[in-house]
Amino acid sequence: MRPSLALLRTTTFRLALAQAGVVLVFVVALLVYVYFATIGQLVADSDILADQEYAALERAYAEGGIRRLNQEVVERAARQGPLLYVLAESNGAVITGDFQQLPAMPRDSVQRVDFSFETTDSEGVAQRSRARGQVGRLLNGPILLVARDLGDSAVITGRITRVLWTVAILGVILSVASGLIASWLASRRVEALASTARDVMAGDLKRRAPVRGEGDEFDELAEAMNAMLDRLERLMQVSRTAGDAIAHDLRSPLTRFRQKLESALEAPEHSGNDREALRKALEEADNLLDMFAAVLKLARVESNPNWRFERIDASDVLRELVEFYEPAAEEQGRTLRGEIAEGLKVNGEPGLFTQAVSNLVENALKYTPEGGRIELTAVRRPDGRIEIAVMDDGPGIPPADRDRVLERFVRLESARSSPGAGLGLSLVAAVARLHKGGLHLRDGLSNAQGGRGLGAALVLPAAA
């Protein structure tokens, strides 16, 4: 599983986030609609009510003058209900009504008012309340105010608004959470497919993606991938067995050919020129045969037959290898130094293990110029694996080419002039894979050109 932060980058999570956005927009729209559908309607209704009352009182004034109006206001104010009344003189002094003071002075003849006021509830506790209505000057100056107490509806409004916000926040949280869960589930399935692909690339051709049998799109993808891998494996097997069969079948005639050259060379009747030509031909035959042997060996390592693994004292084997190559290196004007930790043990095939490290040492000897340095180090890494590194101060390999040189027969342009078939590192990599390890190419020691030589690290699991 990748770190959880990567979850936030997954497509499913982005989709979930978009979904959360849509939910948010929907809830806000709903909020606006509900507000206008409930509170807006309440206000509009109360406005109509207040307006009707105002008109009725205006009519009473027109019919019966100030005396009649006064009487009406006193009567109506005494009634239970949400409507509030105030009658005042033209200077604002209250004549009668629900308030001692006029909450608002009218500027024009009639205008809409919205104000808050002190009131006392049934238990005599003071409360602020809101009211909304109409205030205006009547003919000859008296001021009339009719308003509706919005107290109840304000409470309802508050409740509705709170509920809507709660719904909105819950909706967003839910969609983000469900998005995270969905993307976690999906990324787990995707990770299973990706890890299959990685294992196959690392050489485990037998690995297949898990199919859950739920028939969902991931199963479909896994099945398609497995079918592809089956086909790939078959093709590789065909091409490999064909190649190996060719190498094998060519070996017998080549061996006979070599034998004939050898006996021809032994015969006394040849002149010096013939002899030289025969010797060259024999050399070429040997090169070819070595190459076939290397191909076949590589094929046997890669096809993973039942190699007999045993516990190898790697420290011992490595020290002996350094001791084996050190005199030749010195003879060729190169220094080979070993720095090998004690007691390193690996489970492996002793012959292949020894050959793999020897290939790395020979590779370093081959590509290091005279006066060069080669270091073989072996340590137990903090992760418990054993790392055997051969580092040189030769020309090195550019990072871009490093993966390529591990493939069969690949030789860099710079190496064309030296002998070899380009199988040495391939064999090391194959041996590493057989031992559940890896071969990693990286920078080696600093070289005379100010660059870095090659460092080849064989990383293998330690034996228990």
Partner: protein, 222 residues
């Protein structure tokens, strides 16, 4: 000496027979496993050269059954499959040496001679070649009475050369028997080891003991 060659490839058998005959051996050829086993069991051979892949009976089974019958003639197995496990299998079955194809004729001849020569060498505790003496118990080497100071690996190298004194030993034989390495180093590693050993045993003496056999290997001889 008398050599039994068991090889099914007629062309190969003809060439090998010619080479062995040229090295002054009496050679008889069997072309399949059963015939080879029957001829070997009737005895009289000094060395048996046995191909691994044979019709009727595999080389490994032939060796195993011969050993069970009490036939102790040294056996060299030739194989196209020169891999560790096959080599170990062949040696476990009772073969004395194992040579992967392709091999040079000289390699084969050197090994056939070494097999014959070294039949009962393991009981010795002292080796001597000219005025060079090796004490295998005290692990000391003297030449002309003067003690030589050898590294452990040089000691083993010299021991192998002394046990095969007078015989040509190839680089491959040294690699397999002294170092137990079963691959071909591409550099002249063995030559350098030999020249270091030579400087210790031959430098201060008028007579050279360690000779280079051009194109084949080395020979220790007084």
């Amino acid at each position: 000496m008398r050599v039994l060659l068991v090889e099914d490839d007629a062309d190969m058998a003809k060439n090998l027979r010619a080479s062995l005959a040229a090295d002054e051996h009496d050679v008889e050829v069997a072309s399949d496993g059963e015939q080879g086993q029957a001829m070997a069991a009737n005895g009289g051979y000094d060395v048996i050269v046995l191909d691994r892949m044979l019709p009727k009976k595999l080389g490994v089974s032939v060796v195993k059954e011969l050993r069970e019958q009490g036939v102790s003639t040294p056996v060299l197995i030739l194989s196209a499959l020169h891999d560790e496990d096959h080599r170990v299998e062949g040696l476990n079955a009772g073969a004395n040496d194992y040579l992967g194809k392709p091999f040079s004729t000289r390699e084969l001849l050197a090994r056939v001679r070494a097999l014959w020569h070294g039949r009962d060498r393991d009981v010795q505790t002292r080796l001597q070649v000219g005025d060079l003496e090796m004490d295998l118990l005290a692990r000391t080497v003297k030449r002309g009475g003067k003690k030589l100071d050898l590294q452990p690996r040089e000691f083993r190298l010299l021991e192998y050369l002394m046990r095969n004194a007078g015989q040509t030993v190839t680089r491959k034989m040294l690699l397999e028997n002294v170092w137990d390495y079963h691959f071909d180093p591409q550099t002249n590693v063995i030559d350098v080891h030999i020249s270091r050993l030579r400087s210790k045993i031959d430098r201060d003496f008028a007579q050279s003991l360690l000779h280079t056999v051009r194109g084949s290997g080395y020979r220790l001889e007084a």
